[in-house]
């Protein structure tokens, strides 16, 4: 399958799923009587969902008819090999865990951990001087955040339930 076709199929499936989901969800919305056409809460999202599916179908048709981009799936795979998805997944996992724990740890502890672990994740170095620099940066970052947002802007950042 060419890269263009694969891309077109992906876009179409995405549009179809999102549009279908919107139609399914809005079907249970109440009808509004007596105020003229298009006044129910479902009208506008359904119009957008219809447009989305229509555009997705057009992209699919365009992709299936396209002869210009002859790149094969294998060529695209080779290009994609230089992209590393592991750090992206790891960062998101870190965010999920630390934000979920924010209620217990408070912003400053979870923010410090997130900063420090993300720096380590990107840097990939086990040298002691790098470790110290990363620790210093993470602590410094949290101090800056505290001064700017809590002291200057006056935002109360989440505290730990253990300290309350």
């Amino acid at each position: 399958m060419t890269a263009v076709r694969r891309d077109a199929w992906t876009t179409f499936v995405f549009c179809l799923l999102l549009g279908g989901f919107i139609f399914a969800d809005t079907l249970r919305y109440p009808e509004v009587q007596g105020q003229g056409f298009g006044q129910g809460p479902a009208f506008y999202p359904q119009l957008l969902a219809g447009a989305l599916i229509f555009l997705g179908a057009l992209i699919l048709l365009q992709g299936l008819n396209s002869k210009r981009d002859a790149a094969t799936g294998e060529e695209v795979d080779a290009k994609n090999r230089s992209i590393r998805y592991a750090p992206v997944v790891l960062l998101m996992a870190l965010c999920l865990v630390l934000i979920a724990l924010m209620k217990y740890l408070g912003f400053f502890v979870s923010g410090f951990l997130l900063t420090f672990l993300t720096v380590r994740l990107i840097r990939h170095s086990l040298k002691m001087r790098h470790l110290i620099a990363d620790l210093g940066f993470s602590v410094g970052m949290i101090i800056v955040v505290y001064l700017v947002f809590e002291v200057f802007v006056g935002i109360e950042l989440p505290g730990s339930i253990f300290l309350d």
Binding site: T10, T11, F14, C15, L18, I22, D25, T26, Y29, P30, Q35, G36, F37, Q39, P41, F43, Y44, P45, L48, A49, A51, L52, L55, G56, L58, I59, Q62, S82, I83, R84, Y85, P87, V88, L91, M92, C95, L96, I99, M102, K103, F107, G111, L114, T115, T118, V119, I122, R123, D134, F137, S138, M141, V145, V148, F149, F152, V153, I155, L157, P158
Partner: protein, 503 residues
């Protein structure tokens, strides 16, 4: 109120040291964001938007305008020094700027870039001062049908011009419109797509969505790239440009500024297109046409005057119609909305002080970057070397706080992450974050006016075609959406006889 009164109404703001400080701080932050490749004006504005909660509406705008204007200028620094444009609008600057740097004229290239940026920026603001009130006067005649047309115009131009495939741009715009539809329906107040969540009842907050799509998506995209590239920075000497040479270049600077302002005023066109267009036109009509690209100051001046003039142009539709022309003005509209202000023609009557402050804030930001650029070019060059293992976690933390700060709720951090991941995945299939955000900002305007038009006409769709301005706007929309296909068709038809002859 006369144009002169409108320009001077905000002067007392600048008697306050704090307001002046915010413009300077914003401009310097903007220069930092613009100079570091990968960080953009949009990201800087989105990240620092929460800081404006502690400021008055006027001071908040001044701070954000400083970032916007400073970043637009500073994109040229990395373009000249390492041939990596700090912002998309500095791509054309590198054509001659980097070649000048390789010849040992990096300082001079920065000098010309700074002066051209400043003069272009001032020209853009001057046009803004006269064009925006005029357009706002016309917009007072607009009804719901016309606003529907204008909002659709914003989305279709955005989809067409700047983000690759028109259809994918439109899909992005629709996704933004759908995100804006979350929460209570504008007419019936029925909760839509809330799935039983109390947090979703009031709809998605603008900041987590914006910061998610612009900030987190960018962090994830940078994170997936292979190791950091080590870059060699050219040495900077003799920053001050020659005055006689500048005087000789003044007509071309004026032409570039006019092109930049005009292109900037077209929704979604922005500085990148403005600078490329100005560079292309100057190259085409210059006596030194063949020398463009070989390291001449004219190339730098042509691009920089245009992309900074485009900033003033971008404010025209934002202030007069309430329509964001680009992601940066979308953020400024968001900042106004947070303060309970609706940008558009009425703002000229109700808040002339704010309009004037926006004009003068732009002027002051230009002065700040000109001074900082000429005096501190050497120091800012070092910013290009900031390692990404410190940069990306720092941005991530600021994004999280930005999302949290708007309502002090962790729910908005989840929205931020969801939008960041969605933006990252959609980018993989060619749907870029900018149309999504513009759709999200335009969503309430479009839905409200579209449905009110239908209520007023009793469900008669011809209401959009029977009013002259509305009809013109819809025809322009249709033209924009069909133009690439019509042009493609004619190109194929015209090339057919040639191909037949050759075969």
């Amino acid at each position: 109120m006369s144009t002169f009164d409108l320009i001077t109404a905000g002067l007392p703001t600048f008697y306050n040291f704090y307001s002046l400080f915010l413009v300077i701080a914003g401009s310097v932050l903007g220069i930092i964001f613009g100079a570091i490749p990968g960080l953009t004006a949009t990201m800087g504005m989105a990240i620092f938007l929460p800081m404006t909660f502690a400021m008055s509406d006027i001071n908040g705008m001044l701070f954000l305008i400083g970032i916007f204007v400073g970043a637009c200028y500073a994109g040229s620094l990395s373009s000249i020094l390492v041939n990596i444009p700090g912002t998309p609008s500095a791509i054309a600057t590198g054509f001659d700027g980097y070649t000048m740097a390789q010849k040992g004229e990096a300082g001079r290239a920065i000098g010309y870039s700074t002066v051209a940026s400043a003069l272009g920026g001032l020209f853009g603001v001057l046009v803004l001062m006269f064009a925006a009130p005029f357009l706002a006067g016309l917009a007072l005649e607009f009804g719901a049908q016309e606003y529907t047309g204008v909002a659709l115009l914003g989305i279709s131009i955005v989809s067409y011009i700047s983000f690759g495939s028109t259809m994918k741009g439109l899909i992005g715009g629709i996704i933004g419109l759908l995100l804006a539809a979350v929460g209570q329906d504008v007419i019936t107040a029925y909760p839509r797509f809330v799935f039983g969540s109390k947090d979703l009842q009031a709809g998605l907050e603008m900041i987590p969505v914006m910061v998610g799509f612009f900030g987190v998506t960018e962090v994830l995209t940078k994170l997936e790239q292979e190791k950091e590239i080590k870059i060699a920075i050219a040495k900077i000497r003799n920053v001050l440009p020659s005055l006689s040479k500048l005087a000789r270049m003044s007509p071309m600077m004026a032409v570039s500024s006019i092109i930049g302002t005009f292109v900037g005023a077209i929704p979604a066109a922005g500085g990148a297109i403005a600078s490329m267009a100005a560079y292309g036109i100057q190259k085409r009509f210059s006596k030194r046409s063949r020398e463009y690209g070989t390291g001449i100051a004219e190339g730098v001046v042509a691009a920089e005057a245009a992309n900074n003039a485009a900033v003033g142009g971008a404010f025209v539709p934002m202030l007069s119609l309430g329509i964001p022309g680009d992601p940066q003005t979308a953020i400024l509209i968001g900042a106004l909305m947070i303060n309970g202000l609706a940008p558009g023609p009425m703002l000229f009557a109700t808040r002339p002080d704010l309009i004037s402050t926006i004009y003068l804030g732009n002027v002051l930001s230009v002065i700040v970057f000109a001074v900082v650029g000429l005096l501190g070019a050497r120091s800012f060059a070092h910013l290009i070397r900031v390692p990404r293992h410190f940069l990306l976690p720092g941005i991530m933390i600021f994004c999280i706080i930005g999302a949290y700060a708007i309502r002090n709720t962790v729910f908005d951090i989840w929205v931020l992450l969801a939008c960041g991941v969605l933006g990252y995945l959609l980018q993989k299939i060619g749907i870029m974050p900018a149309p999504i955000i513009l759709g999200f900002v335009l969503g309430p305007i479009l839905e409200d006016n579209f449905r009110r038009s239908l209520i007023m006409s009793g469900g008669d769709w011809t209401t959009f075609f029977t009013r002259p301005i509305s009809l013109v706007l819809l025809l322009v929309n249709l033209f924009i959406l069909l133009a690439p296909y019509v042009m493609g068709f004619f190109r194929r038809v015209l090339s057919r006889p040639t191909r037949e002859k050759t075969s």
